[in-house]
Symmetry: C2
Subunit: 409 residues, 2 copies
């Protein structure tokens, strides 16, 4: 196994330092980097500051084989990436005539004259290849600086993705790649999975396995690189899949909701939901999957007891006797969902907090039930964390409960 090549990502923008906004462009480049045999060794964010950008470019280009720079290529005074890179590498900026013509034409098509300031977008670091984008005004730039390939990319996500795919990947592809496989597990906690797979760390190397905790989900990211990457990865995958067992719901980009919908579709079952504490989150996750409508009929957000009675037929007596957060009410809600015109009814009722907990029903207590023609199943959990976390835990756990039921078919 050979090591992957070292890449760095430099995101430029003061809003990424001053506000809650995070750099997500580096993630857009991640699968492509892996495909062509690179891995991030470093990520940085600096503001719209000439000196700071130049310093970062100098350091990163000296240290890595590939440097992706995102942002600061627009026409306004804040956009100083071109100047900073020229400064860092001791080169001139050259106005590119072909780009100038393209920019003028772009403005003309929009019925406007090109403003003076826009011409800056045609300034290219001497020696750089211009990466013209049909989507955006500012082109990208690709240049060599010592042993490093430096690529300047626009900060607009779809323009960045387009330039990476069209220009960068073909120019850098080495035949080698970092092969990655993500195993997705549902209805489990990280600590349990870690205990189960611990001995595989030693066998395959800790640096090749990353374990990520989701809410009621765990993701195992396996990686291998070099000429034997595919076969090594396949061997790892077999070992981990075996240990994951029935907790494994999918791979890579699979989503729990997508897997659940596929399984229901295969079985010819329709789904309806009855949500209390999750308030619509399960419906949201399900309908995030394109084409959900042939399986998902909809449901009820039964936040008040009145709606639990009225739309789901939960008996008032039961609510009074057992309380809204109880096995019995969850099961009645699931039957009510089924009666909306589905073969699978999913119900969730719980205490998401911060208020509403008691000694025997603390915050985090959630009852979930799934009704199908084969009967009812029920699960009861006390999830950790704050209101938002508890709701996510509950939604994912409940979806996984449906998955396990349908899988039994």
């Amino acid at each position: 196994m050979t090591s992957p090549r070292r890449a760095a990502f430099l995101a430029i923008g003061s809003e990424l330092l001053r506000t809650e906004r995070l750099d997500t462009n580096s993630l857009l480049a991640l699968p492509l980097l892996h495909r062509i045999g690179y891995e991030y060794a470093e990520k940085r964010v600096v503001g719209d500051d000439l000196e700071a950008i130049a310093e970062a470019v100098r350091e990163l280009a000296a240290r890595h084989e590939l440097l992706l720079v995102s942002g600061g290529l627009g026409p306004t005074a804040d956009d100083v990436t071109r100047e900073a890179v020229a400064l860092a590498l001791g080169r001139e900026l050259v106005r590119d005539e072909a780009t100038l013509v393209r920019l003028a034409e772009r403005y003309r098509q929009r019925g406007r004259a090109m403003p003076e300031i826009a011409a800056r977008m045609a300034d290219v670091v001497a020696g750089a290849e211009v990466l013209a984008s049909p989507l955006g005004a500012a082109p990208g730039q690709l240049l060599r600086a010592g042993d490093c390939t430096v690529v300047l990319l626009p900060g607009v996500p779809r323009e960045l993705e387009e330039l990476l795919t069209v220009y960068v990947a073909p120019r850098l592809a080495t035949g080698s790649r970092v092969a990655m496989r993500t195993l997705r597990l549902g209805g489990v906690y990280e600590s349990l999975v870690e205990a189960r797979i611990g001995h595989l760390y030693e066998r395959f190397g800790r640096e090749r396995v990353t374990i990520l905790a989701g809410k009621s989900q765990v993701f195992l990211v396996l990686s291998a690189s070099g000429s034997d990457a595919s076969s090594e990865l396949a061997e790892m995958e077999r070992a981990f899949v075996k240990l994951a067992g029935a907790d494994l719901y999918g791979f890579d980009e699979d989503t729990l909701a997508g897997v659940v919908l596929d399984a229901l579709r295969t079985g010819g079952w329709r789904l309806a939901t009855a949500e209390s504490c999750t308030g619509g989150l399960v419906g949201h996750l399900i309908t995030a999957v394109p084409g959900a409508s042939d399986v998902y009929v909809g449901g009820v957000v039964a936040y008040s007891n009145a709606l639990k009675q009225r739309l789901l037929g939960v008996p008032e007596k039961l609510l009074l006797a057992r309380g809204a957060v109880s096995r019995e009410v969850a099961e009645a809600m699931a039957r009510g969902a089924l009666a909306l015109g589905a073969e699978c009814g999913l119900a969730i009722t719980g205490i998401a907090g911060p208020a509403g907990g008691s000694e025997d029903r603390p915050v985090g207590t959630v009852h979930m039930a799934v009704a199908t023609p084969r009967g009812l199943v029920h699960a009861h959990q006390c999830f950790p964390g704050d209101r938002g976390m508890i709701r996510e835990y509950a939604a994912n756990f409940a979806l996984d409960l449906v998955r396990r039921q349908v899988a039994e078919e």
Copy 2:
């Protein structure tokens, strides 16, 4: 106005480079930094690599006044932050006896002997102050390196927050601060807001105003620093609030759903929702607010036409004549929501794509309606972006429609 002091954040962890996981710890420190007069000048992520961490610490400590380092303080072989910082600054690591005693006691309380490897957590960079955490095993460390204060913090978010609040803020507070104010606008696009406020950039300085686009929302982040920060910020705020007009729904941590719930509560109105293309997202956003249950009764995710008829009383004839995505159906759904037992019924029906669009009803077409005792209002938009974006745009636009209706009271 004096400039804020320069801080940097260094997040350590290979999972932040190799997977989709992002550093979010830097955001936890952000409000506290502003309170004590610092602003991020740089953020970095490096892997669990001794040399890479040391290099980053050396560069960042030379360049900034404060360096927060998060992660790599645990007991396993991957955790090399202590060694890397010692290497970077040319210092020894010293085993701290008081920490060792505290660690042993911690293990004893859990009924376990302290494993040999755990003693590493008591290693302290020579000259560092130990920041003991009641929450976690590994302590933080605070040290001076030239003109820079370097703080080592655990990567576990709540431990990091605790150490920042208890130790770091009191030791670094300067009397100065970066005062920030976020104005939150609903039902608008970034380009419209930018055109309206453009002249204020010149008046107050572009670097003091950051405009962030949400989905059907815009956030204006205003900042000032130095001794006159409060009064300068107040002046900026007045100017921007005036231009925001009725689009302004709140400030700082306010959420649109929270503001809507407060307004409904004040008016003594209850809310019910009827969602089609958003599939439960509006219910989810509303119930994310603690205490939503006294205003929000719940609603229907009427994803199928069958549920639109059955639970919301939308006439089949109307669905056939106008189509599910139409003004008339949105209005009928809103009346149906009202009839669930509320004084305000919100309905959303649209085409989130990728399939289902047509020439006169392209993907992104969404009809929204709000029914109250004062009558019906309707809005029709064609939102941009992919399925996920369209649904977010629609949910926020619809919530804002409720806000405007209730505000008219």
